[in-house]
């Protein structure tokens, strides 16, 4: 082989190597500032993924305890720490866990993480959310093992429950950008309002025939208000008042939000308070379109 031919083949090999590694280089590219900002906005619209943060402790490092009829679970470390967090997961694996409740090893998440609801999030929002979560400082904190007290809960009961009883939101083809459709998307999927505000059936699935009609025994044993527009037992605030409340925590009667609602409004690195006025009004508009359901919560 001549010297020229050798040089040709060497160049061709280098070119091939470059072309093969292009997708990898592209995926390793850092997200743009715009994508991170969008991810932070989506993060705020979820309430700051607050279940993954023990108040006043490192953000997203998990460890918050949740008790249920099946036992107790602790939220996971979702910081980008490679050893104890999700730093070793691919974007696709994180999205699969978020919306389908499956870990990379095939293990199913306990649906305290509301994946049947987050399944309604648009792909672009999820990608941006993952990019933002990866930008949060990593924290080395091992996940605490769950304590399941019901025999065969994960192997038999949970798959059957998911198939037979759990309502599942469906993702839109594109992110709704305004109006009632935008409000519905934020309430039903991203904001996961129904997880607390919708009563549950005997199987503990959300009873979506009474969507947002209040829950007398909500998370952490709280009584969660009926926010359908029922005249006697529901939410009678104006759209402006609802939007103000989500942005400031201020109620029209001079009270101020507290408990878990106070937490999601405040958020962690972002919360409902960081939603634009247009989005808060879209949520209010959507709530006004709900069928009023009479369901008195509390005495």
């Amino acid at each position: 082989m001549s010297r020229l031919a050798r040089r040709f083949w060497r160049l061709a090999a280098l070119l091939l190597l470059f072309l093969v590694s292009l997708p990898a280089l592209a995926s390793a590219q850092a997200p743009s500032a715009a994508e991170l900002a969008r991810g932070k906005y989506v993060f705020g619209a979820t309430g700051g993924c607050g279940c993954h943060t023990v108040p006043k402790q490192p953000v997203n490092a998990g460890g918050r305890k949740y008790d249920g009829p099946f036992g107790s679970v602790y939220s996971s470390n979702i910081t980008p720490d490679r050893e104890t967090g999700i730093g070793g997961w691919t974007d696709e694996q994180i999205i699969t866990a978020t919306r389908l409740g499956l870990r990379p090893n095939g293990e199913r998440l306990i649906p305290v993480h509301p994946y049947t609801t987050f399944n309604g999030m648009a792909a672009d929002d999820l990608k941006a959310l993952v990019a933002f979560i990866r930008s949060v400082p990593p924290v080395k904190r091992a996940n605490q093992p769950k304590k399941i007290s019901v025999p065969m809960f994960e192997s038999v009961f949970l798959p059957a429950w998911l198939a037979a009883f759990a309502p599942r939101e469906n993702p839109p083809t594109s992110v709704p950008s305004s109006g009632v459709a935008r409000g519905e998307y934020l309430v039903r999927a991203v904001g996961h309002c129904g997880e607390c505000h919708t009563p549950r059936t005997i199987t503990m699935a959300t009873d979506n025939s009474r969507f947002l009609a209040g829950n007398p025994k909500g998370p952490e044993d709280s009584e969660v208000p009926n926010i359908t527009p029922d005249k006697t037992t529901g939410l009678q605030w104006s759209e402006e008042e609802i939007a103000d409340y989500l942005g400031t925590g201020n109620k029209p009667d001079g009270d101020v939000a507290g408990g878990l609602m106070g937490e999601v409004i405040e958020g962690t690195l972002a919360g409902y308070k960081d939603l634009t006025k247009a989005d808060r009004l879209a949520i209010a508009k959507y709530l006004k379109t709900l069928p009023p359901i009479k369901n008195k919560i509390g005495k």
């Binding site: 108040p55 209040g214 007398p216 709280s222 009584e223 969660v224 208000p225 009926n226 926010i227 037992t233 939410l235 009678q236 605030w237 008042e241 400031t248 925590g249 201020n250 109620k251 029209p252 009667d253 001079g254 009270d255 101020v256 939000a257 507290g258 408990g259 878990l260 609602m261 106070g262 937490e263 409004i265 405040e266 308070k273 008195k296 919560i297 509390g298």
Partner: protein, 166 residues
């Protein structure tokens, strides 16, 4: 005549002595309520809410410099908050969480935070600095009230409509 004078003197002296003993043995903390801490603090919080609603209404109406009187009331109320939560004062009517006494320094700091922020708001209003008042009011609910409500109060189950303003 002398007997009458002596009798009057003795009555006066007794009254003075009684007043002196009363002053000496009176409780150190001022008793301004019913003595039922749950009822007293709920009444105080209603007044805090009324003042806070009034502050927001004034700012929305374009008169932020008029909130000084409300902010002063909030600051004074905040000083009393820790005295209205004697340890274990929980009844069926109370929405206080037991965490108050488990994390007392944090609770006391939250009351102090309300007092300080209210005083700042009052000073801004007294200085007729409407822009500063508006900025403070924008985050006051979450940062002055919410920091205590979120960890230490069970939220009310029913959302109340706006109170009619007098």
């Amino acid at each position: 005549m002398e007997l009458r004078l002596v009798r009057t003197g003795m009555i006066l002296a007794s009254l003075v002595a009684l007043a002196a003993v009363g002053c000496a043995t009176a409780p150190k903390t001022p008793m301004m309520g019913t003595g039922d801490p749950v009822a007293d603090r709920q009444r105080l919080m209603k007044n805090v809410g009324a003042n806070w609603a009034d502050i927001q209404a004034k700012v929305k109406a374009g008169a932020p410099e008029t909130v000084a009187v409300n902010a002063e009331a909030l600051s004074l109320h905040a000083q009393r908050i820790p005295t209205l939560f004697p340890e274990g004062s929980l009844t069926d009517k109370s929405k206080a969480k037991p965490e108050i006494w488990q994390k007392w320094p944090e609770f006391a700091a939250a009351a102090k935070n309300l007092e300080n922020r209210s005083a700042t708001l009052r000073d801004q209003a007294v200085a007729k600095d409407g822009a500063a008042v508006t900025t403070t009011v924008a985050t006051f609910g979450r940062e002055a009230c919410g920091t205590c409500h979120t960890p230490f109060r069970v939220p009310p189950p029913q959302q109340q409509p706006a109170q009619p303003r007098s």
